[in-house]
Amino acid sequence: MPLRVGIAGLGGLGSNVAVMLVRSGFRDLVLADFDRVEESNLNRQAYFRRHLGMKKTDACVEILKMIDPEAEPEAHDVRLDEENIAGVFEGCKIVCEALDTADAKAMLVNTVLTKMPGTYLVSGSGISGWDSPDGIRTKHVFEKLYVCGDGTSDTGDMHAPRVAVCAGHQANLILRLIYGMEDEKIE
């Protein structure tokens, strides 16, 4: 079975991570989001004005196929919870956490790490505001958990530059894991 990567949440982090992975030639993605594209998303998320009102899963698949027509992302229009996460991301060796609230992030991380043994998790935490993007880093915090971000900023105002920097950290680490450039060996 080919290595698959799950992306939980298709907002500023998830939509940009998906685009970067497909641009890098990686096609085996599982996407999950329950939301629709709104005007306020356009300042940082990968969508275009004509996507307003569309399901983020549909809009994201359309963008990915514009980059690579052979990409066949599996999209789940669903609100992730403790009960459905293992099913939605079944077979994913890496899951990218790109959800919105701190509670949802912690719920997803705890659920994947305790219910999906062997799965690597690449989380994003701390992307708000206008501070120097040099504060955004990739940290290997648990055996199977990496966290990208500055770890602290949560003012709620998010803008394209720092969000894209964090998405870049996540996508870069995912590619490093896939292609064996980290010490970890993904079987």
Partner: protein, 64 residues
């Protein structure tokens, strides 16, 4: 006990939940790896900490 690389004193009988709350963590926003394995959140109140424990705590902030 060691938490995030720092030596800490814990009173005998302190649970993981009590320790996290007293250290200022919101337990609905954290993940904890205790002695190399991730502790399920519904076990925090049952886990009694020991001097020899070593834990990593990650606290998440919003934004995605």
């Amino acid at each position: 006990m060691k938490a995030n690389g720092k030596e800490m004193e814990v009173r005998e009988g302190t649970t993981l939940h009590e320790f996290l709350v007293s250290a200022g963590y919101d337990t609905s926003r954290v993940a904890v790896e205790l002695n190399g394995s991730v502790s399920p959140r519904n076990t925090y109140k049952n886990i009694v900490l020991k001097d020899t424990d070593s834990m990593e705590i990650v606290s998440f902030v919003g934004g995605g």
